[in-house]
């Protein structure tokens, strides 16, 4: 069974007559890293939001199966507990809510939904401190409010930290590379590589080959006007880097 199977997914803005996803088909296998590239405004973030269950979008047709189960009727938190994780293109600030509080609330909320007891605090602390260190996140950042006053790159690293703690089945990384400096890019990529495993999958949304140099994708998909218009191996990304989207988009139209 595929990890993620999206069939004919069609979605529009909930309170406007604007269709963004137009019968999108995509399969991600277990153990796979799938890269999604595509022009600005083609619907990449929308796809990730629709999969995660954001209310601004209305699915008008199609389905999305995670481990064989249609997730489109589930609430966002239920999808999260089933192992779907989204690293946001623009992470959200939550003033007054400490990072530790937030991380612990997230970890335990998911554990509870999966019938596990809360993680004991010492174990949790150890886990966070360990992962934070690996990702170059300072103890000071862990003491601050969620994403408040973080630089662009710090926010992205923070998303990686959350992913590492939540150990999702399917992680969607929406332009996690943008805003990262060269060293941070490598650190975050190492984090992903370390998490690669036979039953986990990644959808990596990016504009740049640079990230894919570090995270070698198994497949590359091109998304344009709300559909996947071309798929190929890692070499497709290099081709796009060299020639841009014009050719493929033209052909697909």
């Amino acid at each position: 069974m595929s990890l993620l199977e999206i069939k004919n997914l069609t979605a529009k803005l909930a309170d406007e007559d604007k269709q963004i996803l137009n019968g999108l088909n995509l399969t991600v296998e277990k153990g796979q890293v799938a890269a999604i590239m595509g022009p600005n405004g083609s619907g990449k973030s929308t796809l990730s939001y629709v999969l995660a269950g954001r209310e601004d979008y209305e699915v008008t047709d199609g389905e999305a199966l995670l481990d064989g189960e249609n997730i489109l009727d589930l609430s966002p938190d239920e999808r999260a507990a089933k192992g779907l994780f989204l690293a946001f293109q623009y992470p959200i600030e939550i003033p007054g809510v400490g990072q530790m509080t937030f991380l612990k609330a997230a970890v335990n909320a998911q554990r509870r939904k999966n019938g596990l007891d809360d993680m004991p605090t010492p174990e949790f602390m150890k886990l966070v401190n360990g992962r934070a260190k690996e990702l170059g996140i300072s103890p000071d950042m862990l003491r601050r409010s969620v994403n408040v006053g973080f630089s662009g790159g710090e926010k992205k690293r923070n998303e990686s930290l959350q992913m590492a703690l939540l150990q999702p089945k399917l992680a969607i990384l929406d332009e996690t590379d943008s805003g990262l400096d060269i060293d941070a890019l490598k650190i975050v990529a190492d984090g992903v590589n370390a998490m690669r495993s036979p039953d986990r999958g990644f959808v990596v949304i990016t504009h740049y080959q640079r990230l894919l140099d570090y995270i070698k994708p198994d497949v590359v998909h091109v998304l344009s006007a709300g559909r996947i218009i071309k798929s190929g191996g890692a070499e497709l990304a290099l081709e796009l880097e060299a020639n841009g989207y014009a050719d493929i988009v033209g052909k697909a139209a």
Binding site: A80, I94, A109
Partner: protein, 490 residues
């Protein structure tokens, strides 16, 4: 995070209309005849066997009240109150002045137990470390039914009793201080209170004494069509310290009930009073039917040099809240603080804030107000900071933040500033924000339910103020806030 989890569990455990203190107790009551007149004032005074001067004081207030008009400047809206259509005195019949717990009607003990306030000292002593003990004065409708740990407190010279009892045992103290901070002429509701107040708490901390435990009063309105008019008087003599907490609940009833209390605090030289309130009167149903009108006058007088009074309030209940706990900074180098969380949901109306009146030199005040509005509620912060000519180097810092949940509610900030000295430094910051869909989605994407997400975000918003509450009440208040906001989204 355990607090968030507890909050959510608490929220789930609630059945109807979220208010879990809405039960009423079947108990035989003695009521004064309905309505208000000089005879009623005499009746109340007689029931309490008061000295003649107290009756005169009351009658004087009553006569003055007759000439006064209800204030209409607050941003609250309610039908005319019929002052003749309620009872001004309601006391459990069984035993008006019980000498010991054994004489108290078991139904009352049961009521407080249900509210989570054990009154039997043995029960309190069982699981609680001495430093965490809390002495409670339990006021049921118009009378104080019991005050715990009185004897133990007496050992350190602390007087903690009902005000009726204090009138008999320490008349000189009561006479000296009552009305000295909130005069009988102060305002419509305070004047009414002076005429008809039935009971409340009295605290006196002798010079140099640090009160060995938290003191608290728990107010319960039970009887229908009854107003509650309690009066609390706390005196901290030179160099003393006391931390006091007030809690309150009422049954769910269709009618509106009036609660018009007066609280007076006096801090002498180097004394400190920390007064915390967790106000959870019945707020009415989601359509705005029923609920308490909470029209309260609370004022602290930093009478001595270097004295300090700090108000912390968590306001979640009442259909209408009209209250401005204030500090008169009379002593040089005295300090006033006001920390407030005011939550409104459904059809609740809140008009609350503080007054910091700087009279002495080098006086400092600090105001941190967090208003959270949800549903169709209206939430107003109204505050005055003033400096007298003599109040050189007065300093105030004010921060008012409003958080909106949903689109149908309102938040308003009305700060007044008056300074008659050029050396005063008043700073004012205000923000209004919304719980955004982005924040909700972000939290839920990480696995939190909608309720957990709201609780987390709101607790973050009010954290600065929650931290001011005594430890034991922080978690309680956190839960209460989340419960009050239940049903505010989705």
């Amino acid at each position: 995070m355990p607090a968030v989890q507890e909050t959510v569990e608490q929220v789930r455990a609630i059945d109807v209309d979220q208010y879990k203190y809405g039960f009423s107790t079947e108990i035989e009551m003695e009521l004064a005849p309905k309505g208000l007149s000089e005879d009623i004032v005499r009746y109340i005074s007689a029931r309490k066997n008061e000295p003649a001067w107290m009756l005169e004081w009351r009658l004087d207030a009553y006569r003055r009240w007759l000439t006064m008009r209800e204030p209409d400047w607050a941003r609250v809206d309610y039908p005319q109150i019929d002052f003749q259509d309620m009872y001004y005195y309601a006391a459990p019949k069984s035993n008006a002045a019980p000498k010991s717990l054994d004489e108290i009607d078991p139904a009352i003990l049961e009521t407080y137990k249900k509210l989570g306030i054990p009154l039997r000292e043995q029960e309190i002593l069982a699981g609680v470390a001495p430093e965490n003990r809390i002495a409670v004065d339990a006021v049921f409708d118009s009378v104080s039914v019991v005050t715990t740990f009185k004897e133990e407190l007496k050992k350190s010279g602390v007087i903690f009793s009902s005000i009726s009892e204090a009138l008999h045992e320490h008349p000189e103290l009561v006479k000296q201080y009552i009305g000295s901070v909130v005069p009988t002429t102060d305002n419509y509701y305070a004047t009414l209170n002076a005429a008809v107040f039935s009971d409340g708490s009295f605290v006196y901390i002798p010079p140099g004494v640090r009160c060995p435990m938290e003191l608290s009063t728990y107010f319960r309105i039970n009887e229908q069509k009854t107003g509650q008019f309690e009066r609390t008087l706390i005196i901290a003599d030179k160099g003393s310290y006391v931390s006091y907490l007030e809690g309150c609940t009422a049954p769910m009833r269709d009618e509106n009930q009036l609660h018009a209390a007066v609280v007076e605090l006096i801090a002498h030289d180097d004394a400190e009073i920390k007064y915390s309130t967790v106000q959870n009167w019945y707020p009415g149903d989601s359509q705005g039917k029923g609920g308490i009108y909470n029209f309260v006058t609370k004022r602290g007088d930093c009478r001595g040099a270097r004295s300090k009074i700090s108000w912390t309030q968590v306001e979640t209940g009442s259909a209408i809240t009209w209250k401005y706990p204030s500090c008169i900074l009379r002593g040089d180098d005295s300090q006033g603080e006001f920390y407030s969380i005011a939550v409104s949901n459904g059809a609740q109306q809140v008009d609350s804030g503080t007054k910091m009146i700087h009279l002495g030199k080098n006086t400092r005040s600090r105001i941190i107000s967090k208003g959270i509005s949800a549903g169709r509620s209206q939430n107003t912060y109204r505050g005055l900071v003033s400096a007298h000519r003599r109040a050189t180097n007065a300093k105030n810092f004010t921060n008012c933040d409003s958080l909106l949940i949903g689109n149908a509610c309102g938040a308003h900030t009305v700060p007044y500033i008056e300074s008659k000295t050029a050396s005063a430094v008043f700073e004012h910051e205000a923000t209004t924000s919304k719980v955004s869909e982005d924040q909700m989605f972000y939290c839920m994407q990480r696995g939190l339910t909608q309720e957990e997400a709201i609780a987390l975000i709101v607790n973050g918003f009010v954290k600065d103020v929650l931290q001011q509450l005594p430890m034991e009440f922080m978690v309680e208040a956190q839960k209460l806030i989340a419960i009050s906001l239940e049903g505010s989204v989705g």
